[in-house]
C-alpha cells in the first residue's frame, strides 16, 4: 500500500459511461480516494452513505471524494441512484483493478479492491493512507484529521 509522502499515481477512470475523471485535473484541490470491495455489499454501503452525509465537511477542507471499486459504471450508476449518493464512484473495471493495484490495495484472491483510504494533497502527494479490515467501516475521523493537518500547512 502506498504511504504518506509518495506521489499519487495518476489515473483516468470512468465515473459515468461518458465521463472520465483524471486525477491530475484535481491538482490544486485535496482529493479523498475511498477504495472499497463492491457496490451493494452491506458494510460498504454504510460507508458510502456515511461519506454522503459528510460532503459539506469535506468541501470545507476543499476536498473532493471519490469512491473506487472494480464494479462497472452501470453498476455504480444504479447504486448511486438507489443510495442517493452525491459524489462520484469510479469504475476500476478495465483493465480490472489496475488503479487499485497501482495504489497497492488490490486483493488478488477475491478480485476486489481492499477497503482503503487515501488523502491526496493539492500537489498530488499522498498525505495520509489507511487500510481497514475488510469487514470494518473505517468511518471518517481519520480523513478529517488528515485534511485538518493539510489546512495547517
Amino acid at each position: 500500500m502506498l504511504e504518506k509522502g509518495t506521489k499519487a499515481p495518476d489515473f483516468e477512470l470512468n465515473a459515468t459511461p461518458d465521463q472520465k475523471i483524471k486525477l491530475k485535473d484535481f491538482i490544486g484541490k485535496n482529493v479523498i480516494l475511498a477504495f472499497y470491495p463492491a457496490d451493494w455489499s452491506p458494510v460498504c454501503s454504510d460507508q458510502m452513505a456515511l461519506y454522503n452525509e459528510m460532503l459539506k465537511y469535506f468541501s470545507k477542507h476543499d476536498a473532493q471524494i471519490f469512491g473506487v471499486s472494480v464494479d462497472s459504471v452501470w453498476c455504480h450508476l444504479a447504486f448511486e441512484k438507489d443510495r442517493k449518493l452525491h459524489f462520484p464512484l469510479l469504475a476500476d473495471f478495465e483493465p480490472k483493478g489496475a488503479v487499485s493495484k497501482a495504489y497497492g490495495v488490490y486483493d488478488d484472491e477475491v478480485g476486489e479492491s481492499k477497503r482503503a483510504l487515501f488523502v491526496i494533497d493539492k500537489e498530488g502527494m499522498i498525505a495520509w493512507s489507511y487500510l481497514s479490515p475488510t469487514a470494518v467501516n473505517p468511518g471518517a475521523d481519520g480523513i478529517l484529521d488528515a485534511l485538518e493537518e493539510l489546512d495547517k500547512k
Binding site: L50, N52, E53, M54, G139, A140, D141
Partner: protein, 172 residues
Amino acid sequence: MSNLKPEVSNSDHVQGNDAATITIVEFGDYQCPFCGDAHPIIKEIEDTFGDQIKFVFRNFPLQESHQYAFSAAAAAEAAALQGKFWEMHDALYENQYRLDENLFEELAETVGLDMEKFQQDFTSEAVKEKVDNDFESGVRSGVNGTPSFYVNGTKFDGDAAALHQMLEESTE
C-alpha cells in the same frame, strides 16, 4: 481505537446517576431501524445497572438516507428546551414505525409541550445548530454507522445487545 470528542458536558442530554462509574454515549438516528431495535435494550441496561450507569444521547441523523431523521432530531431538541428531551426521545422511538412529518406535533402534544414554543423552536437556528454539532462530534469521534456506542469515552465495537453482555461480564 476511536475516542469520544468532545467529552460529555452540560450541553449533553444525560439520563441516570451523575456520579455513575459507567458513562454510555449513543450516537443515534430516530429513523434508523437498528437504533429503534437498540432503544428497548438500552432501557433494559438502565434498569439492570441502575445507579452504575449514566446514559447520554447525541444526534447522528443520516439525512440523505432517512428523510425524517433530521426533523425528528430537531423535535427532540425542541422538546429539550422545555425540559422534555427524554419524553420526546422515547416517544419518537416508540412510534418509529409510523414516523412522518405529521408525527412531531402529535407527540409534542402527547408529552405536554407548549405548542407555540415547540413550533418556533422546532425550526430555529439554535436547534439546528445543536443537531449539527452533535453530528460533527460523531464524525470526529469515528462514528461509522448508527447506533454507535461509547463506553467511558472509548468506542464500543458492537450493538446494544453486545453492550449489555459486556456490561454484565464487567460488573460481575
